[in-house]
């Protein structure tokens, strides 16, 4: 399977081609080159998936880690070297399929959505760069390679959020995303360094082998501030994952990232990049489970809190992309909880499996939701719910696919979201009742806010649409990806996922727990019912309820003032208490020393520069006097 390297090289070459020569190409040609390249990548990843899952992936019924390629990239000493390579195992192959599929859909969709925008070639170049980095991230053979691609993903996300670089809000959002995730990556880097300092390796295979015995033995007894070093290292690595995956309190960048073009939000900020944190924890799951189970518990609780927190905020947002952004945060948190409650081996590893399963299904229906929202925005030229309503007559295909996606995310049988969500709830139920009930409530809230969104866009009173022109359905090039993703959202739930992905790579049979399935469907139906009652006709009941709730509603609408809290922490605490003294020291001690030296030199030179007058006769005078003085001195001595 050496050809798997092509899956990385193709998008990189397209990025270089479009990035360097894009200006000379016609926009449409550039778009087609990018899309065609992605088509090749997608086909290649399906071939790899087929080869891996059905031909050469198993040895004695166990999924193996295939490494078709691994070479030494940078050698520092005999033991310290950084490799680059390709690792194929169930989760990385699954991610290849997800990323290339969603990316292909977004490439095709963008041909229509971004048509006529300035910088079309640049847009496709960045999309290819992102696809390259994301694919490199999932196939990384060692944690350092993952970190390299992790940062590349961050950069391409930054570039794409700030695609409309003349819009101040987009520029601010891209900076915010970059700084927040960089801050989290600082923890990730320290975590990597601590981990590999003790284990003397970066390699995933060595770290996870034999129930992570290398990590457990090499870190035994080492502790720092009352916690074991293994806990510190893995918690710091999780911090990186929490930054990318927008876990509370590092979630603040994701809603703002919606300033980017909508297809970008679908690809990066819903389906692929934001699940990198979940993927990271899953990749190191063995290490987490055996070396630092307390971190895993913490991940579970952070996830549950984030899921609830984001779901509550999503209820009050009025910008449709922001609703979807908070929904994404909430769903990723779901996956995190699943990892947190997971055991190891066989059916105990249900949480791990369901987390990956939800990642898989969520990628398709969330990409579909975003692309559908893009289609709506394309039609009405606004992000605000208040400008929409009654669109189902004008956008029949978008309406249908959006409804499928809403049902899928709400967890209604037989759509894909039902299966993965049910497995997560079941895993949580057997592990921790508090987490289970939290997720149960979140499931209801999810159904409610998704249908609030759905009804506000497609039902209710029709708005007067910009005078002369009526909203119209998007062109075929945009609706075909919607239909494909809708189809995927319907069928992916029936994949026997646990046969392929499991914590110990052995595969097991999953079955649907009827009580949990019924209770989750019940709460989802209640959520949908309430949304139907409140929003289908578009009355003013919601406003009345909002007024009754008063302060609570306002707090939720302002996202519980988390942005303001961070603003306060950075401006008033970090800037005032740490940065200001450092700035003072820099200005008044270091700069002052340098300025003093310069001033002394300048003053001295100013006072003696009159001597160099250019008057030869004056020089002669000086010379003569000097000679006489020396002569007299010589005579005296």
């Amino acid at each position: 399977m050496e050809y798997s390297i092509l899956i990385l090289i193709t998008p990189l070459l397209i990025f270089l081609l479009l990035g360097l020569l894009g200006g000379k190409l016609k926009p449409v040609i550039a778009g087609r080159i990018g899309t065609f390249g992605l088509l090749c990548v997608a086909l290649l990843s399906y071939v790899i998936a087929y080869q891996y899952f059905f031909v050469e992936g198993t040895v004695n019924g166990k999924w193996i880690e295939k490494i078709p390629l691994n070479f030494e990239w940078l050698r520092f000493t005999d033991t310290l070297h950084i490799d680059l390579g390709i690792l194929l195992d169930p989760i990385s192959v699954m991610m290849l399929v997800v990323i290339s599929t969603v990316s292909l859909m977004v490439h095709i969709y963008s041909l229509g959505y971004m048509h006529g925008e300035g910088g079309f070639q640049r847009y496709y170049a960045f999309l290819s760069l992102f696809t390259f980095s994301m694919l490199g991230l999932v196939v990384a053979t060692n944690i350092f390679q993952m970190y390299i691609f992790w940062e590349l993903v961050g950069v391409s996300s930054y570039l794409l959020i700030g695609f409309y670089y003349t819009k101040p809000s987009a520029v601010a959002a891209s900076k915010k995303a970059f700084i927040v995730t960089r801050f989290a990556d600082l923890g990730f880097l320290i975590g990597i360094l601590v981990l590999s300092f003790y284990t003397r390796t970066f390699d995933f295979g060595l770290l996870t082998a034999d129930s992570a015995s290398l990590v457990v033995t090499s870190m035994q007894g080492a502790s720092f501030m009352g916690l074991s070093v293994a806990t510190w290292a893995l918690a710091l690595i999780f911090m990186g994952g929490a930054g990318k995956s927008a876990m509370f309190p590092l979630h603040i960048w994701l809603p703002d990232a919606m300033e980017g073009p909508t297809p970008v939000s679908a690809l990066i900020h819903a389906a692929t990049m934001v699940v990198a944190g979940v993927y990271l924890v899953a990749r190191l799951f063995t290490v987490y489970f055996f070396a630092a189970p307390d971190v895993l518990t913490m991940i579970g609780y952070i996830g549950a809190f984030t899921a609830l927190f984001a779901a509550i905020i999503a209820i009050t947002q009025t910008d449709i992309k922001r609703v979807l952004a908070f929904s994404t945060i909430s769903q990723i948190a779901y996956m995190m909880v699943a990892l947190g409650v997971s055991g190891y081996e066989g059916h105990d590893g249900l949480g791990y499996m369901s987390s990956m399963f939800h990642l898989f299904t969520h990628a398709f229906f969330k990409a579909l939701l975003f692309l559908g929202a893009g289609s709506v925005i394309h039609a009405v030229h606004s992000n605000e719910m208040s400008d929409m309503g009654g669109l189902r007559k004008y956008l029949p295909i978008t309406h249908l696919t959006f409804l499928i996606a809403c049902l899928a995310i709400a967890g209604i049988y037989p759509l894909s979201g039902f299966f993965s969500k049910d497995e997560i709830l079941s895993a949580a139920f057997h592990h921790d009742k508090i987490l289970y009930w939290t997720l149960w409530v979140v499931a209801g809230l999810t159904a409610f806010y998704m249908f609030r969104l759905y009804y506000s866009i497609f039902w209710g009173k029709e708005k007067v649409h910009h005078g002369e022109h009526k909203p119209h359905e998007s062109p075929l090039i945009m609706t075909v990806p919607l239909l494909i993703l809708a189809l995927l959202s319907c069928v992916t739930g029936f994949i026997p996922f646990s046969k392929f992905v499991s914590s110990d790579n052995l595969g097991f049979d999953m079955h649907i727990d009827m009580t949990i399935a019924l209770s989750s469907i019940a709460v989802a139906v209640v959520g949908i019912g309430v949304a139907t009652a409140l929003y289908m006709r578009g009355g003013d009941l919601p406003q009345k309820i909002a007024q009754r709730l008063g302060g609570l509603y306002r707090a939720t609408f302002h996202k519980f003032y988390m942005d303001e809290v961070w603003q306060f922490i950075t401006k008033s605490v970090i800037f005032k208490c740490i940065c200001a003294p450092i700035a003072w020291f820099d200005r008044h001690v270091i700069d002052a020393t340098m300025n003093g030296l310069a001033t002394v030199t300048q003053k001295t030179s100013a006072s003696i520069k009159g001597l160099q007058s250019g008057q030869v006769q004056f020089y002669t005078w000086i010379f003569l006097i000097g000679a006489l003085v020396i002569g007299i001195l010589a005579l005296c001595v």
Binding site: Q612, S613, G614, Q615, V616, Q617, T620, W621, L624
Partner: protein, 103 residues
């Protein structure tokens, strides 16, 4: 009266300091050049005199004098050429104004 070495030396010292005075006080560059010649000639007198009175059996001082005269002649030619060129460029040979080289 027998002419002693000291007489010559007094004459050359006078010539030298007249030259120095002229070099420092004159404004005209040709006058400055003449002062320079005075100083050089004073030095050459010294060479000859010391050779004649102190080492009459040797000739190095005399040769040095001849050598110096040749150099002086060449130097004067160059200096005059410079002065003429300066005059052509700025129409003046006042040495107080010739201070542009400091920049």
């Amino acid at each position: 009266m027998i002419v002693q070495m000291e007489h010559y030396l007094v004459v050359s010292a006078l010539m030298f300091f007249i030259g120095v005075y002229g070099f420092i006080s004159r404004k005209n560059m040709i006058a400055v050049l003449i002062s320079l010649e005075l100083m050089l000639n004073a030095v050459e007198i010294n060479f000859s005199v010391f050779n004649r009175y102190l080492y009459p059996e040797r000739l190095e001082g005399m040769f040095f004098t001849l050598f110096g005269i040749a150099i002086t002649a060449a130097e004067t030619a160059v200096a005059l050429a410079i002065i003429i060129n300066v005059y052509r460029h700025i129409g003046d040979i006042n040495i107080r104004k010739m201070n542009k080289l400091k920049d």
